[in-house]
């Protein structure tokens, strides 16, 4: 529970959260009412084909999510470059690419370029991870 002492203002740190919560509840109710009385107003068609799109492609959604999770796990251990390569490959796959080698090479080159640009030119620290010895040998 958030404290409510308010000092001179008479309201504390819990007041605005209360207002926002009340607003969200009210809006939720309003949207529910619209949904049960003829659907949301001015909303796009439910059928993707009517919107000029294809039906929901679950594996694409899955590949992109997998790429982001792989990146999350890898960045602390494998480093920025490997995490970026994995992410790049998974996302390209999610968009229907089947050229795994091409995607891996593109991903590696892009991530390495970004890594060098940030670390060398902008002085922003990024983890080198497993590639640290290799990057070290190359004088980077």
């Amino acid at each position: 529970m958030l404290p409510s002492e308010g000092g001179y203002a008479g309201i504390g740190p819990n007041f605005v959260p209360g207002v926002v919560a009340a607003g969200l509840l009210l809006l939720g109710g309003w949207l529910t009412y619209e949904a049960f009385s003829g659907g949301w107003r001015n909303a796009p068609a439910d059928d993707p084909r009517e919107r000029g799109e294809h039906p929901f492609h679950a594996s694409s959604f899955g590949w992109i999510s997998a790429g982001l999770f792989a990146h999350m796990v890898l960045i602390g251990t494998g480093g920025f470059v490997l995490a970026g390569t994995a992410l790049f490959g998974c996302v390209a796959r999610g968009f229907g690419s089947t050229r795994i080698v091409r995607d891996a090479v593109f991903g590696l080159v892009l991530s390495l370029a970004v890594f060098l640009f940030f670390v060398k030119l902008l002085n922003v620290g990024l983890p080198a991870g497993w590639l640290a010895p290799l990057l070290g040998v190359a004088g980077i």
């Binding site: 958030l2 619209e34 294809h54 492609h57 790049f88 390209a92 968009f95």
Partner: protein, 494 residues
């Protein structure tokens, strides 16, 4: 004349070789990223924010002004050639621009859009220079109650008045307001909604929210619903030269559009969507060739593009003088200021006069760079458009994750990014606008501070917002904006 001296000093700052270089890099990168299909100005600015982490504030903000303008111009190139408006402000351009491209007149369409953006941008910057000191004088008289009421006004215009649905706009706004509450309360130091996660104590960063909603959400949506569609791109015609007839028809459209766009940008009315449509309708009505509309009339490109740029410059008036962002892009720019501990507003004009006027001066310079850069380089930007979608989105996500990770060097921010990506996907799927959420996140905490300050001063008397005349006026206009359309609809029905 005081403003004129300040502006001259500003040019002194902006014309320093190093700042000129940052401006140049900003315009180039902004255009390059803005050209990428599916990347609007808001996402461009958010993705390029980490680049400035180690710059001094003046250089960084000058670079940002360049990115802002570059992104706008890049977006119109994409719209004309691909017919995929990256943002609502480009829809009007797409109507005629893509038709012109289909008729083999992509060159003149891009030229009128580039030159029109320059003309409108420059005139609007002059207006900004003249108007800003006046607004600053007015704003210095504002107390917390006035600020709070003005922010409420901005909240309502950007969420409830614009867009396809009032309730969905407000829902987005309140989601943003909720996210803005996460972290340490600036008044008492109390942690709110952080659930003991240290990364959340700093609050939700605007870059993570914007990139999550715009980049991750968009990637998930396009992959799931559009990745197996094929798209056609219009060929660039060989010449970008405009004929004498084109010039004659473009000029008046540029000027009229500037007159429409700038005022709309300065009032908190959600940026440039409305003025572009008003400009389109005006040109259609006044044109001597109304039969060409729908088949590629050049006025239909010249007008909306100029209106878009004039409004984008107008948006900087409330942003710089009052600290109130009225578009998602402006909210991210405000976030960039806050990263440097700067709070835009009337006081910034006094305490950081060099920085503010340097920024304004760099807007003039940015417009010129944009014009010089874009006409000859259009061929390169067109090549950028041919990057296949799979590589394009893969690259975008590498940059998106970089922006989030570089905040605390922590995977927690990456998880937050993914959660916002899921939210962005759902909002896109069910047509909930994302702009109000970004504005709510940035403006919410500022509004809360002013609200509580006002109540502290009045010793807890809540009527202070109604008894102060300026504050009461803002609130009255806000109520009128909500109630009037509703009454009009009622009356029409009966």
């Amino acid at each position: 004349m005081e403003a004129f001296d300040a502006l001259l000093a500003g040019f002194g700052v902006a014309l320093k070789p190093i700042n000129l270089l940052w401006g140049f890099i900003g315009v180039t990168l902004g255009t390059f990223v803005g050209v990428l299909p599916g990347v609007g100005p808001a996402l461009t600015v958010a993705m390029l924010l980490p680049l400035t982490a180690k710059l001094d504030p003046t250089g960084a903000l000058i670079m940002f002004a360049g990115i802002y303008y570059g992104a706008m111009f890049g977006g119109s190139t994409t719209t004309i050639l691909l017919n995929t408006p990256g943002e609502s402000a480009s829809i009007a351009t797409a109507l005629e621009g893509n038709k012109m491209a289909k008729a083999g007149r992509a060159g003149p369409a891009l030229a009128t859009s580039a030159i029109g953006s320059f003309v409108a941008g420059t005139i609007a910057t002059v207006l900004l220079t003249l108007l800003a000191p006046l607004v600053v004088d007015l704003a210095l008289k504002f107390g917390p109650a006035e600020y709070f009421s003005l922010m409420v006004f901005a909240f309502i215009t950007v969420s409830a008045v614009l867009g396809s649905s009032t309730v969905r706009g407000l829902t987005s706004l309140f989601l943003g307001l909720f996210l803005g509450l996460i972290g340490i309360d600036s008044q008492t130091g109390q942690a709110r909604f952080a659930f003991g996660v240290p990364e959340l104590l700093d609050g939700v960063d605007v870059v993570v929210l914007a990139v999550g909603l715009f980049a991750v959400g968009e990637a998930l949506y396009v992959a799931a619903y559009q990745s197996r569609l094929t798209e056609t791109m219009e060929k660039m015609s060989s010449s970008i030269m405009m004929t004498a007839e084109d010039w004659k028809r473009s000029w008046p459209a540029w000027l009229r559009a500037t007159a429409i766009g700038f005022p709309f940008g300065t009032i908190p009315a959600g940026g440039s969507e409305i003025p572009t449509f008003i400009s389109y309708a005006t040109e259609k009505k006044l044109s001597k060739h109304p039969e060409e509309f729908g088949k590629g009339a050049i006025e239909g490109v010249a007008g909306p593009e100029a209106a878009n740029n004039a409004a984008a410059t107008g948006v900087l008036v409330p942003l710089l003088t009052l600290g109130i962002p009225t578009s998602a892009t402006a909210a991210i720019l405000l976030g960039a200021f806050q990263n440097y501990g700067l709070q835009p507003g009337p006081l910034l004009f006094q305490s950081q006069s060099e920085l503010v006027w340097g920024l304004i001066a760099s807007l003039y310079i940015g417009n010129i760079i944009l014009l010089i850069l874009n006409l000859p380089l259009i061929g390169i930007w067109v090549k950028v458009l041919t990057i296949p979608k799979d590589l394009l989105y893969a690259g975008i996500l590498v940059f998106a994750t970089l922006g989030a990770y570089s905040l605390h060097q922590s995977w927690v921010d990456l998880l937050t990014l993914y959660v916002f990506g899921l939210l962005g996907f759902a909002m896109r799927r069910w047509d909930i606008p994302v702009g109000p959420a970004v504005i709510g996140l940035i403006l919410g905490p500022l509004a809360e501070t002013q609200f509580r300050r006002a109540l502290s001063i009045s010793q807890g008397d809540a009527t202070v917002f109604l008894t102060q005349p300026i504050s009461a006026t803002f609130l009255a206009i806000t109520v009128a904006l909500i109630v009037l359309p509703w009454i009009v609809r009622r009356v029409r029905r009966t």
